[in-house]
């Protein structure tokens, strides 16, 4: 598998190109990808198939992207979110 460089919360790290962001985050030890909007509770991969909208992350400035159905590409900026995240 080809490793590419991505940015996780601003830090450059190596990640397997084509793997799902969700699988990569789990491997990197991030069980929670975000917190809930009002209660601040941790949320992460639940269904893993794009239905439940729990594993939301910010990708290249776009908030609320589903980690489980987004594939790693070179240079991708991945951020775990507080609540709805900061739209850039």
């Amino acid at each position: 598998m080809i490793e590419v460089r991505v940015f996780l919360n601003g830090e450059p790290v190596q990640a397997p190109a084509g793997q799902s962001v969700g699988a990569f985050l789990l491997t990197a030890g991030h069980r929670a990808t975000r917190t809930t909007r009002f209660g601040g509770k941790p949320r992460g991969m639940f269904c893993g198939i794009g239905i439940c909208f729990d594993c939301l992350v910010t990708i290249d400035g776009a908030t609320n992207q589903r980690a489980c159905v987004t594939r790693i590409v070179e240079g991708m900026k991945i951020k775990t979110q507080d609540g709805s995240g900061e739209f850039e």
Binding site: L56, T63, N64, Q65, S84, F87
Partner: protein, 380 residues
Amino acid sequence: MNSPDVIVIGAGVVGAACALALCDAGLKVLVLERSTISSGTTSAGEGNILVSDKTPGPDLTLGLWSRQAWFEVSDRVGGGFELEAKGGLVISRSAEGIAKLRQFAVQQRIGGVEAVEVDHTGVHELEPHLEPDASFGIYYLQDAQCHPMLAAARMLQAVRVAGGEIREAEEVIGLSRAGSELSVRTKGGLFTAPIIVNATGTWAGEIARLAGSDLPIAPRRGFILVTSPVPNLVRHKVYDADYLANVASGEAEIQSSAVVESTQSGTILIGSSRERIGFNTSLDVQILRRLARQAISLFPLLARVDVLRAYSGFRPYMPDHLPVIGEDPLVPGLFHAAGHEGSGISLAPATGELIRAAVTGESSFMDPTPFSPARFMSTS
């Protein structure tokens, strides 16, 4: 409930407001709903409480009073329905459109609307993410928003606490005179009262016809897109001035204009389309695309925000764009409270008040004649 004073048919926001007003006037109220609370048009809109789209005259008088009354309703029921005086911003981007909008606002101000003209700097101070070229807008300070299903539920809860009864799954299939009273037959039973209020929105013509009368209400379909939550991207209710022309139009074919606002849960609602194609519930992707495009032209950042879902509903369209509020001249005791098109949430409390006044024979804040059902019926 034994012998109610009034039966309200329909547990949407208008029926709920009528029930609450009648209940607070000391009447025993029974509400019959064919499905569940807010299952009709109340759950198919955006929760707009607008004065910005009201034309000076009876429409605006009703709208201004109703907007104020919503805050009293909130106090009455203990809040809990996300009522928010967020303000509205109407944008126009053509010389002709600006001239029309400016003139409309001048007339509205005479009628009591707080409408402030804002320039390029002003519109971007109000909405920092608005497209950079937008350079003219009218800021409507009184425009407000609420969660309509919660509003209806809170009002009906208050009715129940005050001794009223709400019965769901009671579809009305007959309405006839029974001595000095009117009797309502549902699939489940027979209910009798001296007064019936028809608050069935888009379906009010069917109830009128069951009673031997008629109302010219037609469904006008609209779609809404819901985005993923993006707090602070849109701060007011923002819409294109073309919306005003679409509201006022009687055309059957599809019309759409950007209407964008955020909700307290962080999602953004994107409307607004209007078309008269009967009770057609099919999903039209072309219309959804058009709504998305128009919203992006107002807020370019929306191009990077995901749409979570879309829904549609049927506004109760009236040929003269005024609701029908008052007693049916052909069926004494039957009062209509329907036909609000896209303003049912806006106008619900004022409609409840006019129905209360009509039922009790008292006067109210305005002359209800422009809304009379008699305007559609020949007197010959």
